[in-house]
């Protein structure tokens, strides 16, 4: 039986997740529990949506380092609007977040696709730019849970289905919906296939007559829109939003994508991979802060090493399969 490279990689990731769960269950008491699933799945969902957006951009041989600031900006902006007017319809609030994120993504997209500035430069610039605008805009005020409408405060606790003490929270369901949608889009739509084509060989894609600029632009807009959606979920989950909300999320999303097997040079990878990558990273982080033996200071280093190890193991396994 021959499996697609992507499927094999996804299998490896799944195996790693099981190994991590097993490993930590040996050192942490009461580790494997419904509670862990409920708490970690909600945390994973936020990172996973961001990673799906990042995937679209990375597939085209680009990168979006500004997503952390987009998350912070939309979380703050939507939080502020909802604080001022508690009667804004939930759907309008979500659309506001997605729209603002898409607009910020479009700004990146114009510079990368039409002005031909390398994505890493553009988004490194907008990472700082969006954050600075937020700092100025916020006037040092914090968004407080007390001013937010009740439905938003209740949202993180809302379950779609529950089985005994196991809950599938709304955030997780939203993430699964987004994942299925984009997996189908990438797999079966001509838009999706063309993103892969651009990443594999930009020149060939151009010669084939694909509107590469427009496609890259669209990828950035979608990535921004998903970062905006993440910003909304971020607001719902954490409630108190300061100007530093979302800092560092850009690197976590890139890490999730890389661990998830999306080729950083474009052209290969899957949405499922990104979701699994996000799950592995977030699970590791959440497990490490629950483990008594590991000091605060070692945790980041350990997380970095585990990510490297995951990637290394994965790439060795992949090569073996290819060499055979």
């Amino acid at each position: 039986m021959r499996l697609r490279a992507e499927t094999r990689r996804e299998g490896v990731l799944l195996l790693l997740i099981v190994l991590v769960l097993f490993g930590f269950s040996l050192v942490i008491e009461n580790y494997l529990s419904a509670r862990l699933f409920n708490r970690v799945s909600a945390s994973v969902a936020i990172l996973a949506i961001l990673a799906i957006g990042q995937t679209l951009v990375v597939l085209t041989r680009n990168i979006d380092l500004s997503v952390g600031s987009i998350v912070g900006f939309t979380a703050y902006f939507v939080g502020q609007q909802l604080s001022l007017d508690n009667d804004i319809h939930p759907l309008v609030a979500v659309l506001m977040a997605v729209g603002l994120g898409a607009a910020l993504g479009a700004f990146n997209g114009v510079l990368v696709a039409f002005c031909r500035v390398p994505a890493i430069i553009v988004t490194l610039g907008t990472l700082a730019l969006f954050r600075t605008i937020l700092v100025e805009y916020s006037d040092a005020q914090t968004i407080l849970t007390v001013n937010l409408p009740q439905w938003l405060i209740d949202l993180p606790r809302l379950n779609v289905v529950s089985y005994e003490r196991l809950h599938l929270r709304v955030v997780v369901a939203v993430m699964l919906g987004v994942a299925v949608l984009f997996q189908l889009l990438l797999r079966y739509s001509s838009f999706g296939r063309r993103l892969y084509a651009i990443g594999s060989s930009p020149e060939a894609a151009r010669n084939a007559g694909f509107p590469t600029r427009r496609l890259v632009f669209t990828a950035f807009v979608l990535c921004g829109a998903l970062a905006g959606l993440t910003g909304f979920l971020f607001l719902a989950r954490f409630g108190n939003i300061t100007v530093i909300a979302g800092i560092g999320q850009e690197l976590k999303s890139v890490a999730a994508v890389v661990v998830g097997g999306i080729n950083i040079f474009g052209g290969s990878g899957s949405v499922l991979g990104a979701v699994l990558g996000a799950s592995l990273i977030d699970l590791l982080e959440n497990s490490l802060i629950r483990s008594l033996q590991i000091s605060e200071f070692l945790r980041d280093a350990l997380l970095g090493m585990l990510i490297l190890a995951a990637v290394a193991v994965d790439s060795v396994l992949m090569r073996r399969r290819r060499d055979r």
């Binding site: 009461n30 916020s138 100007v243 530093i244 008594l292």
Partner: protein
């Protein structure tokens, strides 16, 4: 012989000078000094409040120079602060007021500023080694902070006590580290015997990290009854996490917080008691100290007494919480609970 006696006498007077022998210095207004106020980073309410206080003093003293409020962006606090102090030095500013977030990494930049003749006063968070710093304007006595935190823990947990954990800001923040150490010290006392500190974790003053750390603490320590967060960001994040998990009746939150941000959690019982001081006053007092030193009206040495406008008289003392270093102590704490939190929330 007589001359010798005189010398001895003056030496004695000089030695006494460390005490209250210095006359109280009243600030002469209208002198020029260009001053820079540096927060840990921009975009946080308490630092803006300190800026308001400094501005008030700036206008009151009629300083024809400038007062600039320059902070690093949040993701770049440590390196940003070093850069701002260095830039202030090359620009030839007259003084820097720094809420230090860079530990001792700021020392070379601070020393360079001093060599160029700048006045360097820290506020809110000190330079741990005191090198490069003239005076630290302490909001409250840092040992006292430990006692206040221990007292709040005791009043929430009661006589029988229980397990609790500290959720701090960043491991680099000198003030946070001093408070946590002071609290551990205070806990040695007999009356706190029931209080059992199980862990200190760091949420980096980020809502999401603090929230996740609070959840992890709940999972890690099933018997934990209290999270003590000496940071305005950490305390609201921990309260939100407990509220989301419907755990407010089993686990409480306390620490340092802003009444406006805490009011709902205090009223619903998640965070029955917390403390803070006025950051407006802190900015005001810091400005006075810095203005007086930068304009040569005081030297910034031990024993000097000065008048700080509406806040009254202060004296520069040795900082008992550090081996070296001088301190002006502001104080006091305000402790908030459901009876007084609403009044101060607006």
């Amino acid at each position: 012989m007589k001359f010798n006696k005189l010398l001895t006498l003056s030496a004695v007077v000089a030695a006494l000078g460390a005490g209250p022998a210095h006359a109280e210095v009243m600030a002469e207004k209208g002198k020029k000094a260009n001053l820079v106020l540096v927060p840990k980073f921009i975009g946080i309410l308490v630092f803006d409040q300190a800026h308001d206080g400094a501005r008030e003093a700036h206008e009151e003293l009629g300083n024809p120079g400038t007062l600039e409020f320059i902070g690093p962006t949040p993701e770049n606090s440590v390196a940003g602060q070093i850069e701002i102090v260095t830039t202030a030095t090359t620009q030839g500013q007259d003084g820097v007021m720094l809420s230090n977030n860079s530990g001792d990494q700021i020392v070379p930049a601070a020393k360079a500023a001093r060599e160029k003749g700048l006045t360097l006063v820290t506020w809110d968070s000190q330079i741990p080694s005191a090198e490069g710093e003239q005076v630290f304007v302490a909001q409250v006595d840092f040992d006292q902070t430990g006692v206040v935190m221990a007292d709040m823990a005791l009043s929430i947990l009661g006589e029988e006590g229980g397990d609790f954990a500290i959720l701090s800001a960043t491991p680099d923040a000198a003030n946070q580290n001093s408070w946590n150490a002071a609290m551990q010290n205070a806990l040695q006392e007999e009356k706190y015997a029931g209080l059992n500190l199980v862990d200190i974790v760091y949420g980096d003053d980020q809502s999401e990290k603090s929230y996740n750390q609070a959840l992890a603490l709940i999972d890690k320590y099933p018997n934990m009854k209290l999270i003590m967060a000496p940071t305005t960001v950490g305390i609201v994040s921990a309260s939100k996490a407990l509220q989301d998990e419907d755990l407010c009746d089993q686990i409480k939150v306390s620490g340092l917080g802003l009444p406006a941000e805490m009011v709902s959690y205090t009223l619903n019982g998640c965070a029955p008691e917390f403390a803070l001081w006025s950051f407006v006053d802190l900015g005001y007092l810091t400005y006075y100290v810095t203005y007086l030193i930068a304009t040569g009206q005081i030297e910034g040495v031990e024993g000097e007494t000065f008048n700080a406008g509406r806040m009254g008289t202060y004296t520069i003392h040795k900082d008992p919480t550090r081996e070296n270093g001088l301190r002006v102590l502001m104080g006091p704490f305000s402790v908030y609970n459901k009876d007084n939190v609403e009044a101060d929330a607006s």
